[in-house]
C-alpha cells in the first residue's frame, strides 16, 4: 500500500524534464511527496517538518536546478540528508571506563531489552574478547530473570545469580560488586520494561543509573514504533539520560521512521540493530539501509542484493580482471545476458532503480524484451568455443551456419556481433576510466553487471 518515494517523485517530475529547468515550485511539489512518504514511514511529524525544511534548503539552488535528471537528484539529496541525519558514521559501544564497565539497557515493555542484553553480551565476548556478566533488574515481569539466565547460558555468557525479592538498585550494586571481584570487563544490566510516562518507574531506573554510572545507557526501541517515538526518546533521555539507541526487529518490514525521529530528538547515535530473535542477530547500525527503507527505496537496496546474489563476487572479479586486459569475448557476453535474465530481465531490473521510469519506456520502445535476450543467447550458444573466444573468425559461411543453428537470420547474427563490438569498446573505455565509470551511475552493480550495449542510445537493438 505504500508507494515508494522514487515512484512518487517519478510522477512529480515526469512533466518536468520536458519543460527543462527545475523551478522552486517543482521542488515544493516534490517536498510534499517527501513529506507524505516520511509520514507513512512513521517519521514523527515535528521531525518530518525539520527534515523537509532542511532538504528544501539543500535542494533549491544549484544542487537540483543544475542537475540533468531532477528526480534522481532529489532522491539523492533526500537520501544523503537522511543518511547524515541518521548518523553516517558508526559509533561503537563505549567501553572506555574502569572495568567492570556497566551498560544499562532501558526501554518500553517488550521492546527487546532482555534479548538485546544477551545479544550484546555475546557480541562483546566475541568481537571484543570481553568477559561479560549479565544481570536482570527486572523484578516485575513474570520469569524475566529466568529469561535472561537462559539466554545467558545459550550465549555462554555468565549471569548474576538470582536472589528473589531484591530491589533493582540493590541488584545493580551486587552485579557491580561481583563484576569487580571476579574480574569481569563488562556488566550488562537489563531492566524491566517501563512506560515513558510512568514517573515512578522512570525515577527507579534513574536511581539505578545514578548508583552505577553506566558507560552506556542504551534505549532499546522497536523499529515498528509510530509517532510516539518522539515522546519515548525525549522522556527516556530527559528522565534517565541515554547515550545510544538500539533499534530492534529490523528484520521486520516496518519502514523504521522511528529511527530518524529518535535520533533527531535526542541527538544520540543509533549504535546497533537487532535483526532477529537469535542471539547472533545483532548488527552495527547501517544508516543507508534504514534510509533506503524510510524512503521506500528498499527496492534499490534489493537490487544491489539481488545483483550480488546472482553474480557471484568471484565471477565479477574474474570478469574485471579480463576486462582490465581489454578482453571481452562472446562467452562473457553470453554470461552477461543470462545473468540479466536471471535477475528478472531488464524490465524488473530497471524498475528497481529510482528515476528510470523514463528510461524504461525508452527501452520498451526499443523493443528490448526477454525474448531478445533469449535469442541472443541462442545465437552465441550455436557458435563454437573458438568462435566465441575469437569473434573475428566469424565470416559469412560461419554466420549462415550459426543463424541456421539458432533459428535466426544472418542479420540477427550481424546485429549481435555489432553489439558485442560496441560493448567491448565501451568496456575498454570504462576500464580506462576506472571503476567509477559505470553506465548511468548505477549503484552497486558489479563491473559489467549491466552490459552498456544494452543501454540506449548505444543499444542498436531492433
Amino acid at each position: 500500500m505504500f508507494e515508494s518515494l522514487s515512484a512518487r517523485l517519478g510522477s512529480v517530475f515526469e512533466g518536468l524534464t520536458r519543460r527543462g529547468a527545475l523551478k522552486e515550485s517543482d521542488v515544493e511539489a516534490a517536498l510534499r511527496e517527501i513529506r507524505v512518504a516520511l509520514l507513512e514511514a512513521d517519521v514523527a511529524l515535528p521531525v518530518v517538518k525539520d527534515f523537509v525544511a532542511a532538504v528544501k534548503e539543500r535542494a533549491i539552488g544549484h544542487e537540483v536546478l543544475k542537475s540533468v535528471t531532477p528526480g534522481q537528484m532529489v532522491v539523492k539529496v533526500v537520501n544523503d540528508h537522511l543518511v547524515e541525519t541518521l548518523g553516517a558514521e558508526a559509533v561503537e559501544i563505549n567501553l572506555k571506563a574502569r572495568p567492570p564497565v556497566p551498560i544499562l539497557m532501558v526501554g518500553l515493555q517488550g521492546s527487546g531489552k532482555t534479548t538485546t542484553s544477551a545479544k550484546l553480551g555475546l557480541w562483546l565476548k566475541g568481537k571484543e574478547k570481553k568477559k561479560v556478566l549479565l544481570a536482570s533488574l527486572d523484578t516485575r515481569r513474570p520469569a524475566a530473570m529466568e529469561q535472561l539466565a537462559v539466554l545467558g547460558s545459550q550465549a555462554e555468557v555468565a549471569s548474576l545469580p538470582i536472589v528473589k525479592g531484591e530491589p533493582p538498585v540493590a541488584i545493580a550494586r551486587r552485579a557491580m560488586q561481583m563484576g569487580a571481584l571476579e574480574g569481569y570487563d563488562v556488566v550488562i544490566l537489563d531492566t524491566a520494561g517501563r512506560l515513558a510516562i510512568d514517573q515512578e518507574l522512570m525515577a527507579e531506573v534513574a536511581e539505578v543509573r545514578a548508583a552505577v554510572e553506566p558507560a552506556e545507557t542504551l534505549l532499546v526501541a522497536d523499529a515498528m514504533t509510530g509517532q510516539d517515538a518522539v515522546t519515548i526518546a525525549t522522556e527516556f533521555n530527559e528522565k534517565v539520560g541515554i547515550t545510544g539507541i538500539v533499534l530492534t526487529r529490523v528484520d521486520g518490514d516496518a519502514r523504521g521512521g522511528a529511527a530518524l525521529s529518535m535520533r533527531a530528538v535526542t541527538g544520540c547515535p543509533i549504535k546497533l540493530m537487532g535483526v532477529g530473535e537469535k542471539l547472533d542477530a545483532l548488527e552495527a547500525f547501517h544508516p543507508e539501509r534504514i534510509a533506503g527503507r524510510i524512503l521506500g527505496m528498499g527496492d534499490v537496496v534489493g537490487l544491489v542484493e539481488k545483483a550480488k546474489e546472482t553474480i557471484e563476487q568471484e565471477e565479477a572479479e574474474k570478469l574485471a580482471r579480463k576486462m582490465a586486459k581489454g578482453v571481452f569475448d562472446l562467452n562473457d557476453m553470453a554470461d552477461q545476458l543470462s545473468k540479466l535474465r536471471q535477475m528478472g530481465g531488464l524490465g524488473s531490473l530497471m524498475g528497481m532503480l529510482p528515476g528510470v521510469g523514463k528510461m524504461k519506456k525508452a527501452l520498451a520502445g526499443a523493443n528490448v524484451d526477454e525474448s531478445i535476450l533469449i535469442r541472443q543467447e541462442a545465437i552465441i550458444s550455436s557458435m563454437t568455443p573458438k568462435e566465441r573466444a575469437h569473434p573475428k573468425l566469424i565470416q559469412a559461411s560461419r554466420k549462415r551456419r550459426i543463424a541456421a543453428g539458432s533459428g535466426t537470420t544472418v542479420q540477427d547474427v550481424n546485429k549481435l556481433l555489432k553489439q558485442h563490438m560496441e560493448m567491448s569498446k565501451m568496456m575498454k573505455r570504462m576500464t580506462k576510466m576506472g571503476k567509477k565509470g559505470l553506465p548511468m551511475g548505477m549503484p552497486g552493480l558489479p563491473p559489467g553487471g549491466l552490459p552498456p550495449g544494452m543501454m540506449p542510445p548505444g543499444g542498436g537493438l531492433k
Binding site: 513474570p142 529469561q147 510516539d228
Partner: protein
C-alpha cells in the same frame, strides 16, 4: 466476555467502567494533552493571528505554552474560521496520533464538508472529529463471544514479538474464570526463553491450569494435546499462547498454519477465535501485520495492548476502516486486571481529548 456475571456487582462494574476510562484517560493523558493542545493551537492560535477575514497565516507554534488562566478562558471561546490552512493543521494533529496520512486526510475532509468556512471553537472541532471516529469504531467494538456449545472454545493468540500475547492470555483467563467458565492455558510458545515459565506464573496467579512441555518441543503437537485434554475435561475455554513472530517470516507463519491444521483434525471449527495482539505503540506497520496474519491465520479479532502508555493507538481507526475486524479488548497495564472492553465512543473521545 466482560460483564455477564457483573450484573450482580453493578456497583463494581460502574466503578470498573470509570476505572477503565480513568485509566485510559490517564494513559492517553499525555497524548490527549498533545492532541487537545494541538487542536487548540490550530483553532485558537490561528484565531489570534487571523481574527478577521484576512486569509489566515499558518498558526505558528505557540511560543508560550503555559497560558494564564484568564487567557485560557478567553481561548475556550475563541473561534477561528475553518479554512484550508486550519484543516491542514488539524490533519497534522491527527497524524501525530498515528492515524496515518490517508485516514487523517479523510477525517479532516469530512470535517471540512460540514464546517468549512464556519467559525468554530476547538471543542466543536474535537467533538465533530470524535463523533466521526466513533462512527468508524462502533461497528468493530465487539466483545469476544464464547460459544458455550463448543467445549472448548479455542482461542489462538498470535502476533509479532513482544506485543503482549502472553500477558493478554493471563488477563483473558482471569476474565473468563470470573465469569464462571473453566479455562485451560496452553504454553504454545516453546521457542522463546522462559516463555513457558512466564505463562505458568500467569496460570498460578489467576488460578488456572496450564498445559506445558519443555522448551523446544513441537507447539502444534502440544496444541493438539491441549485440545484433547480440554475436550475430555469439558473445559469451556482453551487459550493457546504462541511464540511471537514477524509477519514477514513465511516459515514462521507456516508454523501457525500448522497449529491450526492440527487443531482442526480434532475439531473442524477450531480455533473458534484467533486473536491478533497489537501493540498500541506500533505505527503504520500495524497494517501489514493485520493483513498478513489475517491471510495466514484467519484472524477473528484484535486486542490492542499498552494503551496506558503515551502512544495513542490511532492506527486502530485506520485498521477499523480498512479491515473491519472486531476489537475485543484493550490492555491498559501489566496487571491481571488491566484488560478492558473496547468502547468506541470512549476511545474516540479520549483520543480527541474530550471528557467521557
Amino acid at each position: 466476555m466482560f460483564g455477564k456475571n457483573r450484573s450482580e456487582a453493578s456497583e463494581s462494574a460502574a466503578e470498573d467502567r470509570k476505572g477503565w476510562f480513568a485509566r485510559l484517560k490517564a494513559g492517553l493523558g499525555k497524548s490527549q494533552d498533545k492532541i487537545t493542545h494541538g487542536i487548540d493551537e490550530v483553532i485558537e492560535g490561528g484565531a489570534e493571528e487571523a481574527p478577521a477575514e484576512v486569509p489566515a497565516e499558518p498558526a505558528a507554534p505557540e511560543p508560550e505554552r503555559k497560558a494564564g488562566l484568564g487567557q485560557r478562558l478567553v481561548r475556550a471561546v475563541t473561534r477561528r474560521r475553518l479554512d484550508d490552512i486550519a484543516l491542514e493543521q488539524l490533519e497534522e494533529v491527527l497524524i501525530t496520533a498515528d492515524l496515518g496520512p490517508a485516514t487523517a486526510a479523510r477525517l479532516v475532509s469530512n470535517l471540512g464538508r460540514s464546517k468549512f468556512d464556519k467559525d468554530v471553537t476547538s471543542t466543536e472541532v474535537r467533538e465533530a472529529l470524535a463523533e466521526d471516529v466513533a462512527g468508524l469504531l462502533t461497528p468493530v467494538a465487539r466483545p469476544l463471544a464464547i460459544d458455550p456449545a463448543a467445549k472448548p472454545h479455542v482461542v489462538l493468540v498470535v502476533g509479532v514479538n513482544g506485543t503482549g500475547k502472553t500477558t493478554t492470555i493471563g488477563k483473558l483467563g482471569k476474565v473468563f474464570k470470573e465469569e464462571g467458565k473453566s479455562v485451560l492455558l496452553c504454553a504454545g510458545d516453546t521457542f522463546r526463553a522462559a516463555a513457558i515459565d512466564q505463562l505458568k506464573i500467569w496460570g498460578e496467579r489467576i488460578g488456572v491450569p496450564v498445559l506445558a512441555r519443555e522448551q523446544g518441543s513441537d507447539s502444534a503437537g502440544l496444541a493438539y494435546d491441549a485440545l484433547e485434554q480440554a475436550r475430555a475435561e469439558g473445559t469451556d475455554v482453551l487459550l493457546i499462547d504462541t511464540a511471537g513472530r514477524l509477519h514477514n517470516r513465511a516459515d514462521l507463519m507456516a508454523e501457525l498454519e500448522k497449529i491450526i491444521r492440527v487443531l482442526r483434525k480434532l475439531d473442524a471449527a477450531a480455533p473458534q477465535s484467533c486473536l491478533l495482539v497489537l501493540d498500541a505503540t506500533t505505527g503504520q506497520n500495524a497494517h501489514a501485520q493485520v493483513q498478513t496474519f489475517q491471510e495466514m491465520t484467519e484472524v477473528t479479532g484484535l486486542v490492542v495492548t499498552k494503551l496506558d502508555g503515551s502512544a495513542r493507538g490511532g492506527v486502530l481507526v485506520a485498521l477499523a476502516d480498512r479491515f473491519g475486524l472486531p476489537v475485543h479488548a484493550v490492555g491498559v497495564g501489566e496487571g491481571a486486571d488491566d484488560l478492558r472492553p473496547f468502547d468506541a465512543r470512549d476511545f474516540a473521545r479520549s483520543l480527541m481529548g474530550l471528557e467521557g
